[in-house]
């Protein structure tokens, strides 16, 4: 299939931050590359400066899912380019790099650095963070999102995906603004803001106090947002949120998604992406969707 001009063997991506191919290769060796679970690999979100992330505990198991407060630990742009990018380039699938900036200059810095590297097939803007200049969550506000996309659009000759947050009154308006500003695709949903208390102390369990809910619990919410966004934009939509089977993936495709991403389900089985792709292909629709856009 074709995703914004990038050829993929199938419609299954990973959700950013839910699969570290470098760490997985340490655990699984080169067998990981031979049986790679995804048709396109999305990196964990990187920022300009290195980040340690949030203090532990970072995980909470919730009904039908989990809450994480990871806090975007990463080596920073330089560390990523030097240490991670060469290893990610060895993966058997196209690479999408996810970036987050705390203001537009940071975003521009990240995108222009990636634009120079041929290993990078696509770039995803993670806009689920506050703009430190305006205080607004970029991805919850159409104007903020449009301004971010406009700032970086000219810096990159490859597809630009905007990852939407579900914690917004009208994600479709944000998607529309991203499209108008030149985004090539949107992906959704990121995690939903959530919280859990330590049963012993009655105080917030997570080191970051609040976290993001993911997994089957959010599937119905994600599917509704994907359906609404798909009906509002004409660029490709990458759907995710609680996908754990080929049937779930088919539901997202039926509601207008061009591709889907698997996140939390990979924690239960690193091969989940491969299984879901196979189940989808067996359903027929998925295979059709996956090949429909291939050039004749």
């Amino acid at each position: 299939m074709d995703l914004c001009g990038v050829q993929l063997a199938g419609p299954i991506l990973n959700g950013s931050g839910t699969f570290d191919a470098i760490a997985a290769r340490r655990a699984f060796g080169d067998a990981l590359l031979e049986r790679f679970p995804f048709d396109c690999f999305v990196s964990k979100t990187i920022t300009v400066e290195p980040r340690q992330g949030n203090p532990p505990p970072r995980l909470w198991e919730a009904p039908g899912g989990m809450i994480n407060s990871i806090g975007l630990p990463n080596k920073g742009l330089e560390g990523f380019l030097a240490a991670d990018l060469p290893q990610l380039a060895e993966l058997p699938v196209p690479l999408c790099v996810s970036v987050m900036g705390f203001d537009r200059d940071e975003l521009a810095l990240l995108v222009s650095a990636l634009a120079e590297r041929d290993e990078v097939a696509l770039v995803e803007l993670n806009v689920s963070c506050p703009n430190v200049e305006t205080g607004l969550i970029m991805g919850a506000d159409p104007g903020e999102t449009a301004a971010a996309v406009e700032r970086v659009r000219g810096l990159l000759d490859r597809p630009l995906i905007v990852k939407l947050t579900p914690n917004a009154t009208d994600p479709a308006a944000v998607a529309g603004a991203a499209e108008a500003a030149g985004a090539d695709a949107v992906s959704l949903v990121n995690t939903l803001k959530g919280m859990a208390l330590d049963p012993r102390s009655g105080r917030p369990w997570l080191g970051g106090r609040t976290g993001g809910l993911s997994g089957p619990a959010v599937r119905a919410i994600a599917l509704e947002q994907v359906a609404t966004v798909s009906s509002r934009v004409s660029i490709p939509v990458i759907g995710m949120g609680g996908i754990a089977s080929g049937e779930h993936a088919a539901d997202f495709l039926a509601m207008g998604a061009t591709a889907v991403a698997v996140g939390t389900e990979s924690f239960r089985d690193p091969a989940a992406g491969r299984r879901i792709g196979a189940e989808l292909a067996a359903l027929g629709g998925g295979a059709a969707a996956a090949t429909a856009d291939l050039p004749a």
Binding site: R26, Q52, P57, R58, S266, R268
Partner: protein, 276 residues
């Protein structure tokens, strides 16, 4: 093994094993699964992510939803693949469900994962020190190190101490209530043996407070120590960044950079949210 680390690689997918035994060992359960598709020689200190094949998440379970991490306690070759044993303490829904498994039931496993124990440097003798269920990884470590290991085990009560019988030789056992052995924390006999002869390397596993006691003691006596630690894990293979513990060099993911850490890397073995 890769790069000299004591790490046996895992197949990159969860596989189904079949339970062949589930024995009560006092307060704990020892469950064994036949694993025809996994590597036969995991390294002591490595762990597996486990989930029962039925009634666990994904259509059946609210909690447990994620798999749970367990050190393997024994790996014995069998005609139809390695027999992996895990020693479990029932502390919540996941361990409870695993403890209910019966021969013939399915057990999903991913592993072996993480980095295991490294042999003692420069001819030091190995001192294995376990607290409660922390005895689990010491069992295979003792089996692999034929002879010459000293074993010190601390337990809450006699029911918990029953698992000392799984070890070869005569482990030194202490309990919180004095029902078996002396009434003491395990760091007490540890201090005695290390003060007696500091040419030792300590291998410890147990609750955070005990590990912190071991770490502080070994730092004081300048004895090298390797700690098999715990933290909440979602994936076990470095994907979620959820299992970090603080080290002198920042946070490390326990599932890929541990679970065995050199005590010298730690300022403290206490991690918020770990233990129960």
């Amino acid at each position: 093994m890769s790069g000299g680390e004591p790490r046996t690689l895992a197949p990159p997918e969860r596989r189904r094993t079949e339970i062949t035994a589930n024995e009560k060992i006092g307060a704990y359960s020892l469950i064994t699964g036949r694993d025809p598709d996994g590597p036969g020689e995991p390294r002591p200190g490595q762990f597996y992510m486990l989930a029962s094949a039925e009634r666990w998440g994904g259509g059946e379970g609210e909690r447990p939803y994620l798999p749970r991490a367990f050190s393997y306690a024994r790996a014995r070759p069998g005609p139809d693949g390695v027999e992996l044993s895990f020693l479990l303490e029932d502390v919540g829904p996941g361990t409870h469900r695993l403890g209910e498994l019966r021969p013939g039931d399915g057990l999903h496993v991913l592993g072996p994962l993480g980095i295991g124990f490294t042999p003692p440097p420069d001819g030091r003798r190995a001192v294995l020190c376990g607290g409660g269920i922390g005895a689990a990884p010491l069992l295979c470590w003792q089996e692999e190190r034929s002879g010459g290991t000293e074993i010190l085990l601390g337990f809450r009560s006699a029911a918990h101490a029953e698992c000392a019988s799984l070890f070869a030789g005569a482990p030194t056992v202490v309990t919180d209530d004095g029902s078996v052995g002396r009434q003491a924390l395990v760091t007490e006999p540890l201090r005695a043996t290390l003060e007696d002869d500091p040419r030792a390397a300590v291998y410890a596993c147990g609750p955070p407070a005990m590990l912190e006691g071991v770490r502080a003691l070994c730092a004081e006596l300048e004895v090298p120590a390797q700690l098999a630690m715990e933290s909440g894990m979602a994936c076990g293979f470095g994907a979620c960044f959820g299992c970090v513990v603080p080290t002198r060099a920042g946070f490390v993911r326990l599932c890929v950079d541990g679970p065995v850490l050199d005590a010298a890397r730690l300022e403290t073995a206490l991690t918020p949210g770990a233990g129960h």
